[in-house]
């Protein structure tokens, strides 16, 4: 499949753009399409724009965030101004919602080392390009949205540090092509089939009506309570107006909404986490009564502590997700240093805002966690046992050796 004659992108730029437009965001004729990109991602951003217009988009609103400008801010602006966000940033997101737009965000790392000289205490203050209005707009299901990975030379060098630069990028494109199922005869059909499998697992988990999950593995002994109305979901979402879309491509997770007041024990992260410009390695978190009361790490702990102190919900859980070893990402045994891929390689939990689709009723909506942040971190591995605890006290194995038991 991979051929040097196809160039370092292996010919996947256009197919990935098509997948993002036709399957990920599922752009409808006449829609405005917001694209979130960064310098270094021009080739894919332009291909996405072109595919969107070809599929009838009314207008493509490209938004480019430059992390070097954020770096200059963190180095030189007054620390008390770092939480300031101009009002038109949130207004744009809300307007995209009001216009029932589609959005396509290109993840994948650029300039991975740019923040290394910044005071870690400052990093958590400037959360851009995250905008708190986004979570509200997403939760109202106004947008058909997706996040897809965009290989860059910087990112490739991080994932394949020993390869030549051109070769590293080629290897990363090969991985992205594989995990996005672009190497399938019909990538969209391949995703529909995988989402159907994951949907079956989610339906079974919802039927079990679990009271809690218990995680046990190296460095991890954690129990997370679920809400009576917690439902499990996977794959695609549907907007308030009925447009089906795949928020993450790739997506290998089955997820639900935890009780933000019930998490107790210790958990050790199994993959590095990149957030707010820093890499957090060897993360260890202790929960008591739902709150992260101790956050330690081999690297980057201070930044995560700052983020978790941002508001009341930032130290509580907003998502639990299980990933089995059938994940194409997990099978690669590669750390991508990018949440979209790494969270779909292994089971994970997230601090902060809940996505509403994981609860079935008003009681669940009222009890789910709220925060300006949503930070996933990876806790799964083949050595992690995940067990369901039922309301009548039974213990049901869910994942053993990375394989579904349901």
């Amino acid at each position: 499949m991979l051929s040097a004659a196809m160039g370092t992108d292996s010919g996947y730029v256009r197919p990935l753009a098509e997948l993002a437009v036709r399957f990920g965001a599922n752009v409808q004729p006449g829609q405005i399409v917001g694209i979130a990109s960064e310098p270094g991602k021009e080739q894919l951003a332009r291909a996405v724009a072109e595919a969107a217009y070809e599929h009838g988009a009314k207008f493509v609103d490209l938004n480019v965030f430059d992390v070097h400008v954020k770096h200059a801010r963190l180095m030189h602006a007054s620390p008390e101004s770092l939480e300031y966000v101009p009002p038109w940033y949130g207004a744009r997101i809300r307007a995209l919602g009001e216009h029932r737009a589609a959005t396509i965000a290109l993840t994948g790392r650029v300039a991975p080392h740019v923040m290394e000289d910044v005071d870690p205490a400052l990093l958590g203050r400037d959360m851009l390009p995250s905008i708190k209005d986004s979570l509200a707009v997403l939760n109202q299901r106004l947008l058909n949205w997706t996040v897809v990975p965009c290989p860059t030379a910087d990112w490739a060098a991080l994932v394949y540090p020993d390869a030549e630069n051109g070769e590293a990028l080629e290897l990363l494109w090969r991985d992205i092509g594989h995990v996005c199922r672009l190497d399938a005869p019909d990538p969209i059909e391949a995703w529909r089939s995988r989402f159907a499998q994951l949907g079956e697992v989610a339906a079974k988990l919802t039927e079990l009506d679990l009271d809690a999950l218990h995680y046990e593995g190296p460095g991890t002994n954690l129990t997370i309570g679920l809400l009576p109305s917690s439902i499990w979901d996977a794959g695609s979402m549907v907007t308030a107006e009925g447009i089906e879309h795949a928020p993450n491509v790739p997506s290998e997770e089955v997820y639900t909404t935890p009780d933000p007041e019930r998490a107790d024990g210790e958990v050790r992260s199994t993959k590095p986490l990149f957030t707010s410009g820093v890499l957090i390695r060897g993360l260890r978190v202790r929960f008591e009564g739902g709150r992260a009361v101790e956050i330690d790490a081999d690297e980057g702990a201070e930044t995560l502590r700052k983020i978790a102190a941002r508001d009341e919900g930032a130290a509580r859980l907003g998502e639990v997700a299980l990933v089995d070893r059938e994940s194409r990402i997990g099978a690669l045994q590669t750390t991508f240093f990018d949440t979209l891929l790494d969270e779909n390689a292994a089971s994970h939990i997230a601090l902060g805002q809940t996505l509403e689709s994981g609860v079935a009723d008003e009681d669940g909506l009222a009890r789910m966690n709220e925060s300006e942040i949503h930070i996933d971190f990876m806790i799964g591995s083949d050595e992690l046992d995940v067990t369901g605890l039922t309301r009548d006290g039974r213990e049901l194995p869910l994942l053993r050796g990375g394989t579904w038991q349901v």
Copy 2:
């Protein structure tokens, strides 16, 4: 001054950024700074952001416009949608005004050939990145703003087609360094001195209280009426709140506001004009009663005709500007295919919106031209004689052989 050891930017990136921040926009502590950039201009955009934060900016709002995305729109979107602009584009500009922000736009060409396969009839319909709200905000003098040139490899190849790519970029940076007076011991002082000279000429022209200007040269025989309240200006402007700034760096022009109802005769452009993605060469315009009634060109006429038909004021004049041969840009005898530089090489006139500073009273404000567009085109050369016609019928030579006669 120029040294290969300094790299292709000749060490001018940081000095140009400083000039844009400290002299051009004259950024004040606590201000929000909008930067308008394009892919390929990251190095200067980041240096401007850094200089702005160092000089006390509260927030830098970088806006990146990708002409390739516009190209995809023109190729694939429905023609009747091409005038659509999302409401948040104008809202951002108005909000920058309400916040009394500074703005710094980086001109200079990228992807000069990208629009060559687009139907010329469509090009004038999508005026982005121009936004009509901008002219209103500028005319209310809410922003301290500047436009500065940003060398790119694409642009260098256009200006120096016979040079090797790296060498072309080095040559262009040398030119930009020279015309922006970055090679002066104190560039800001050099600009203050040049602006003082131009200001003296402007004051003398205002004193003459001219009724009209007459242009005569190869292919040109044109008379343009002035308003009783027309005043001449040059160099810097002052915001409503008193912040002095230099809207264009470089700026070599002395300009005023014409009577939009009095322009008669023919004019031939002396330099190519780049607008809406097309290069217009050999432009010839005939005016009657202030209106451009015939627009012809060797290349690109149709696009300019479309633009001039956009609204009532688009075929009438909003600016007349005189440039003498002391201009460092004119002295280079180089066509830059970029309006900021080419308009400051030679005398020019502009179709469309008037900038208000060229009239002295309410009567002038009421009579000045209004339009969504503002398109400068160059008519000056050493062969062009410019003569002032006084209200009592005298003819006063203003420019002869490119030299001021006042």
